[in-house]
Amino acid sequence: MRLSETELISLLAKHDREILRYIMVFLPVRVDAEEVLQRTAVTLWQKLNEFDTTRAFLPWALHRAYYEVLNFRKEKARSKLVFSEDVIHLLASEHSEQEAYLGEMKEALQICLQKVQPADRQLLQYRYAYPQSIADLASQTGKTAKSLYRRLDRLRDLLAKCVHERLASADLG
C-alpha cells in the first residue's frame, strides 16, 4: 500500500528531529545539516511509491538521508571541512551499532536537564537556538565571550557525564 502525502507529512513531523540529528553526525554545521534535511524530505516525497508501508518509516528515511549526505558531500568536495566518504561510511556504521544507546539518550538528557539551574538552562537554550548571539550576550552582560563559552562547555560536559551515568546504571539493571 502506498504512503499518502498526508501520512508522509505526519511522519516527517514526528521524526524530523531524529533525522536531523542523524545528519548532524556527518555534517556538524547546522546550516548544512538543515539543508540536507530539506533535500531528504523532498526525496522522500519523490520516492513515496518505493516505501514499503509494512516496514518502519524511520530506517527508510535515515537511509535516504545518508545518501543525501553523500550527495551533499560531493558538492562540497573542494571544501576541506567535510569528512571523507570512507569516514562518513564508518560513522554511519558506528551510529547503527550504537542505535539503542543513542535512542535512550534523549530521555536521560531530559532528566538530567531538570537538575540544571534555570539560568544555566536558559543559557543552553540561547546557545543552541541562537549561537551567533553569544558574542552579543557577552557584550550585554559584561562577561567575556570566552567565559560564556567556557561555562557552556562545562555545562555540556557535566550533562554528558550525567547522561552516561544514567545509561550505564540502566545497563546494570
Binding site: 498526508t6 571541512l81 560513522l91 537556538a129 552582560t141 550525567c162
Partner: protein
C-alpha cells in the same frame, strides 16, 4: 565519555573553530580509531539533542522541516508558527539573562593608579577584558601592573599575578595590588585560582584574609561583610582586626562558605552552590609537534636539532647529520631521564646528571646564532636548563663560566620578575657580568613555553612564545675556545641548580632567525589538552 583532549576537539568542531589542518587530522583519527568514532557519535548525538529538542519538555516541538519545498513539489502546506514563537522566545530569554547578569549601577570607567615607589617592577599582568568593559588611558590589555589601586565599574577583568594566581574581577570593584602574592579586595567580587606549584597567594578583604598555596574560591565584599566560597583545595580564612592582625582563623573545606565582618567569622549553612563562572585550573597541555614544525626547523638548517624521539640509551640523535650527538652523563644517571612522548623529561636526582654534547664544538657564539627550545619547568627552584661553557673551564673552580645560559626561577639572588625565564650571554665566558634578558614573569611551572635567543651583530634578542620581548646591545668579542653544551644542570660535576621538567625540540643555528620565522615556528606547534575534568566543577545536582 572520552578523554578531555578529544572532547575539546569535538567542542571546537561543533563551534566551527577547527582549522582545515585540524579537521583533516580529525578525519584521519576517526578513520583510524573505532573508539574515537564511538565517542564522536555520542558527543554529536548529545549536541544534536540539545540543539533540536525543546528544553522545556512539557511542550511538544513543532516540525522543523520547511514545507515550502514540498509545496513547490505539489504537497499541501500547513502553517508553521515556529518563526513567530522563536522571535518571542528570543526576547524573553535575552531579557531574563540580561536581568540575571547585568549590573545596573552607575557606570564608572576602570582605571589604575600605581603607587609609584622607586625600584618597583611589575607584579601582575592584565590578561583578559570582557567586551563592553571600558578602560581609560591608564590600562591596556597585556599591561604589566605595579603595586597600586585598580578600579572597575561594569564589566570584568582578569589578572595573572607573577606568583601564579589568577584573579577574575567583576565590577563594580576596587582591588589594591600589594605584591605578586598579595592583594586586597576593598569591594566587589573576585574569582581566584591559586594553582598547585604556584606561590602562596593572599587575597584580603577589609574583614578577612584568605591564604593558601592551592585553591579555587570566590570572594564578595560589601560595605559591612565579605563572603568567601571555596570550590577546591583548602583555604585559611582569618578575621582581620583593626591592626591588620588575625583575630581568629578557620580552615575552609571545598563547598564551604564563610561570612566575615568586623565582629564575627561565621561558617554558613550548606547551600545549593551554583555552577558559576569560575576560573578553571589551567589545563595540563602537551606539545603536539607537527610535521610542519619539523619541516620549518629543518628548512632553517640548524647545525644541531635534538628531538628526543626514540632516543637510544645514552645517545641523543642529531636530526641534521652524524655530528653533534648528545649523551647522558654520567651513564649511570640514566634513570633520572625519560624520553617517552618524544621529549626529554628530567627528574630530580641526588647525584649529578645531564645531557651533554658528546664532543666539543667550535665556538659559534662569537657571531650570529640562534638557540631554540621548548621548555616546561616542573618546579620553581632556580634551574639551569641549557648552557654553553668553554671546554677549557676548570670543573673544580667554584662558580661557573658561561657563554650562554637559559634558566628558570621563581626567585633568585638577582632581580627579575617572579617565575620568569632568563637568557644570559657572556663573551668572553666568565663568572660575572654579561647581559641578562628576562621574560615578564608569571610563567607557572607545568606550562610549555617556546624560547629562542638570537644574536645579530652586536645585539642579543629573546623571543618568548613567538614574540620578541627583550633585546640589548652587547660588546663584540672573539673567544677561540671550543664549547660544551649541557642540558639539565649547572655543569655536571656539581649537580647544582638541576632543571626538573621537560625539554624538547632543541635547535642550534649559526645564524639569527628572523622574527617572522620565530613566530612561524611557534605557531606551527599545537597543544593537546590532556587534562581530566578538574575537581573544581560543581554540579548543580540537588542530592
Amino acid at each position: 565519555m572520552g578523554d578531555r583532549y578529544d572532547q575539546d576537539w569535538f567542542h571546537r568542531l561543533s563551534s566551527g573553530e577547527l582549522s582545515e589542518e585540524q579537521f583533516a587530522e580529525l578525519n584521519q583519527r576517526l578513520r583510524a580509531s573505532k573508539e574515537l568514532r564511538k565517542q564522536y557519535v555520542h558527543h554529536m548525538q548529545l549536541d544534536a539533542l540539545l540543539a533540536t529538542e525543546n528544553l522545556h519538555p512539557s511542550e511538544s516541538p513543532e516540525s522543523i522541516v520547511d514545507l515550502t519545498e514540498l509545496v513547490d513539489a505539489g504537497v499541501k502546506r500547513r502553517s508553521n508558527p515556529f518563526p513567530y514563537l522563536a522571535g518571542l522566545a528570543t526576547l524573553v530569554v535575552a531579557a531574563s539573562l540580561i536581568a540575571l547578569f547585568v549590573d545596573f549601577s552607575p557606570k564608572s570607567v576602570p582605571s589604575f593608579s600605581p603607587v609609584g615607589l622607586v625600584g618597583q617592577s611589575g607584579i601582575a599582568r592584565l590578561m583578559d577584558i570582557a567586551p563592553g568593559t571600558a578602560l581609560d588611558e591608564t590600562l591596556s590589555l597585556d599591561d604589566e601592573l605595579t603595586p597600586g589601586v585598580l578600579h572597575i565599574g561594569k564589566g570584568e577583568l582578569t589578572l595573572v599575578f607573577h606568583g601564579g594566581a589568577t584573579v577574575q574581577l567583576s565590577g563594580p570593584a576596587e582591588l589594591h595590588l600589594l605584591s605578586d602574592g598579595e592583594a586586597t579586595l576593598v569591594h566587589g567580587s573576585a574569582q581566584v585560582n591559586v594553582p598547585s606549584n604556584g606561590s602562596r597567594f593572599a587575597l584580603n578583604s577589609p574583614f578577612s584574609s584568605h591564604v593558601e598555596e592551592q585553591s579555587i574560591y570566590s570572594l564578595t565584599v560589601n560595605a559591612n561583610e565579605s563572603f568567601v566560597t571555596l570550590y577546591d583545595g583548602a583555604l585559611v580564612v582569618s578575621q582581620i582586626g583593626e591592626q591588620g592582625n588575625s583575630y581568629c582563623s578557620m580552615v575552609l573545606q571545598p563547598m564551604e562558605r564563610i561570612r566575615a565582618s568586623t565582629d564575627s567569622l561565621e561558617l554558613l549553612e550548606p547551600t545549593d552552590i551554583e555552577l558559576i563562572d569560575r576560573i578553571a585550573s589551567p589545563p595540563m597541555v602537551e606539545l603536539n609537534v607537527t610535521e610542519k614544525y619539523v619541516e620549518l626547523v629543518k628548512e632553517d638548517r640548524p647545525m644541531l636539532y635534538w628531538r628526543f624521539d626514540g632516543a637510544e640509551p645514552d645517545q641523543i640523535r642529531n636530526e641534521m647529520g652524524d655530528g653533534f650527538v648528545g649523551e647522558i652523563w654520567p651513564a649511570e644517571s640514566r634513570d633520572s631521564f625519560s624520553f617517552e612522548g618524544g621529549r626529554a623529561t628530567l627528574y630530580e636526582s641526588e647525584t649529578p646528571r645531564t645531557i651533554r654534547l658528546r664532543d666539543p664544538i667550535p665556538n659559534f657564539l662569537n657571531d650570529a646564532f640562534s638557540i631554540e627550545a621548548w621548555i616546561r619547568p616542573g618546579a620553581t627552584d632556580v634551574q639551569s636548563i641549557l648552557s654553553f661553557v668553554p671546554e677549557s673551564a676548570d670543573e673544580n673552580e667554584p662558580g661557573v663560566e658561561h657563554f650562554f645560559l637559559f634558566e628558570y626561577a621563581e626567585e633568585s639572588m638577582i632581580m627579575h620578575p617572579r617565575n620568569s625565564f632568563r637568557f644570559l650571554y657572556r663573551n668572553p665566558a666568565a663568572r660575572t657580568n654579561g647581559m641578562n634578558l628576562f621574560t615578564r614573569g608569571g610563567q607557572r611551572p607545568n606550562e610549555w613555553h617556546h624560547l629562542v635567543a638570537t644574536k645579530t651583530g652586536d645585539t642579543v634578542q629573546l623571543y618568548f612564545d613567538g614574540k620578541l620581548i627583550a633585546a640589548s646591545g652587547v660588546k663584540h668579542h672573539t673567544s677561540p675556545e671550543n664549547l660544551l653544551m649541557y642540558i639539565g644542570q649547572l655543569r655536571y660535576e656539581t649537580g647544582l641548580r638541576q632543571f626538573i621538567g621537560d625539554i624538547d625540540e632543541v635547535a642550534v643555528y649559526t645564524r639569527p632567525l628572523p622574527a617572522y620565522r620565530v613566530r612561524e615556528h611557534y605557531q606551527a606547534i599545537q597543544f593537546r589538552n590532556d587534562d581530566v575534568p578538574s575537581r573544581d566543577e560543581v554540579f548543580t545536582f540537588l542530592h
